[in-house]
């Protein structure tokens, strides 16, 4: 009986031919003497034979020829979203080269905590006292108007750029139809850029002004494309958007604009007046 247990546990290796010849001989000798183990072995052998009859995939050559094509389009989407985050991480790392691995985890925890406090302030702070509302209403109309113009400019630019980044001109016929509209919007935005930059002519708005200049350059490239443009030109523009982090910068500006802290707005407004 004890020997049966030993040979039963060996059956898997025997069935899959993972025993040496000496072990095999011993096993066969046991089976000749033990009908119960011989039956068990036979059953397992025929069961594995049944499992070999499992249907196998039969796919023709064209399936394999197109496999990479299907995979690469999925990969491209992943790379685009991944490289954006990766570039951002590299940029942060280059700004703070001394930060060790754990530093990022601490930073992440701090960011989470800050976000928690931020959300908490929004959700659980009692409604803004009347006095503060009055204070904020004293923000000069001048800055509010400029800010509104900037927001609209950024919003429209974002839509044009996102339309460009998220569309594959090789696959979507609609792209060509919509592109003329995107060019028209780009042209209008380019025309607005100069005036807008003049209104932001204060050191406090240097970064915003730079962003508008960068956007102006890209939008001008879009607006100036010929009707018979080359797909490579689109690719170059896309790379420009990606490398300059334009969508990310717009997002940051949007976050600043929608932030609940009116102090920053007031500070900016004061500097604008000065």
């Amino acid at each position: 009986m004890k020997m049966c247990k030993h040979y039963q546990s060996m059956m898997i290796e025997v069935l899959y031919e993972e025993v040496n010849s000496a072990e095999m001989e011993q096993f066969e000798a046991h089976l000749r003497e033990c009908p119960a183990c011989a039956r068990e072995y036979e059953q397992l052998q025929s069961m594995l034979g049944i499992m070999h009859q499992r249907r196998q995939p039969e796919l023709d050559a064209s399936y394999w020829e197109r496999y990479w094509e299907r995979l690469s389009s999925r990969l491209e989407q992943k790379i685009t979203s991944h490289s954006f985050l990766e570039n951002l991480r590299e940029k942060v790392a280059s700004l703070f080269p001394e930060i060790p691995g754990w530093g990022y985890r601490v930073a992440a925890a701090a960011a989470l905590l800050t976000a928690g406090i931020f959300i908490g302030r929004i959700l659980f702070t009692p409604s803004v006292p009347m006095q503060t509302r009055e204070e904020s209403s004293r923000i000069p109309v001048q800055y509010a108007t400029v800010r509104q113009e900037v927001d609209q400019y950024l919003e429209k630019s974002k839509l044009v750029l996102m339309g460009l980044m998220n569309t594959d001109p090789q696959q979507e016929a609609e792209f060509m139809e919509n592109f003329s509209l995107q060019q028209e919007i780009s042209q209008n935005l380019v025309q607005q850029s100069g005036a807008l930059k003049k209104k932001l002519d204060s050191p406090a708005h240097q970064r915003l002004k730079e962003l508008i200049s960068e956007l102006e350059m890209i939008l001008r490239q879009i607006a100036n494309l010929d009707k018979q443009f080359d797909l490579d030109e689109i690719q170059i523009i896309k790379l420009g958007v990606k490398h300059k982090f334009l969508l990310f910068k717009i997002h940051i500006e949007e976050m600043k604009a929608s932030g609940p802290d009116s102090t920053a707005v007031q500070e900016e407004e004061e500097q604008l007046i000065l």
Binding site: L44, K78, N87
Partner: protein, 185 residues
């Protein structure tokens, strides 16, 4: 000299394309044996290649690329099973879908019933296994991996591989015993 990220990415992509072309059929076959249908196999194999691409920079040359991709595929499948991403499909409707995709004519009804019953039994038997048991069984039975190779591919001990395989075989036998007459066991 500063490296150009786009050039690096392009080179990496070209190298990876070669690897995919070399291993696509093997990885797809493994994915098929784990999921049981071509649709999920395509999804799983591509997901595994994408993970492979993302970890390509970290791939150490001391392991075989094939084993590395096999490990990614099995782990991706086990994770997906945990999240119940791949649901059990009605095997007969899967046949119909796949035959339609290959534009094959419908087989003789009697043969179809027999085959599909057997196939149904096999798939159901495999469903009795835990993801780890099934992975080990698939690698040994359909991919001729030695127990030692399974251990190094899945990064578990050979003893664990043996006991998982033993349990898998016992479960398969117990399940198929219920249909011994019908399937000629």
């Amino acid at each position: 000299m500063p490296r150009d990220p786009d050039v690096t990415e392009t080179t990496k992509l070209q190298q990876f394309e070669e690897i995919v072309k070399q291993y696509q059929q093997q990885i797809f076959r493994l994915a098929y044996h784990l999921t049981g249908n071509t649709q999920d196999a395509e999804d799983l194999s591509q997901e595994a290649f994408i993970k492979g691409y993302q970890g390509f920079d970290r791939f150490r040359g001391d392991a075989q690329i094939g084993s590395w991709l096999y490990r990614i595929t099995v782990n991706t499948w086990i994770d997906a099973r945990r999240k119940k991403h791949y649901t059990d499909r009605d095997i007969q409707s899967t046949y119909r879908e796949e035959r339609k995709a290959r534009s094959e004519p419908a087989p003789d009804p009697e043969h179809y019933m027999e085959t599909s019953f057997l196939q149904q039994c096999i798939e159901n038997a495999l469903e009795q296994l835990s993801p780890r048991e099934k992975s080990v069984f698939v690698l040994r039975h359909y991919h001729q991996y030695k127990l030692k190779e399974i251990g190094s591919t899945l990064q578990i001990s050979e003893g664990t591989v043996k006991s998982l395989l033993y349990r898998a075989v016992q479960k398969l036998r117990d399940y198929l015993n219920n249909y011994r007459k019908e399937i000629g066991l």
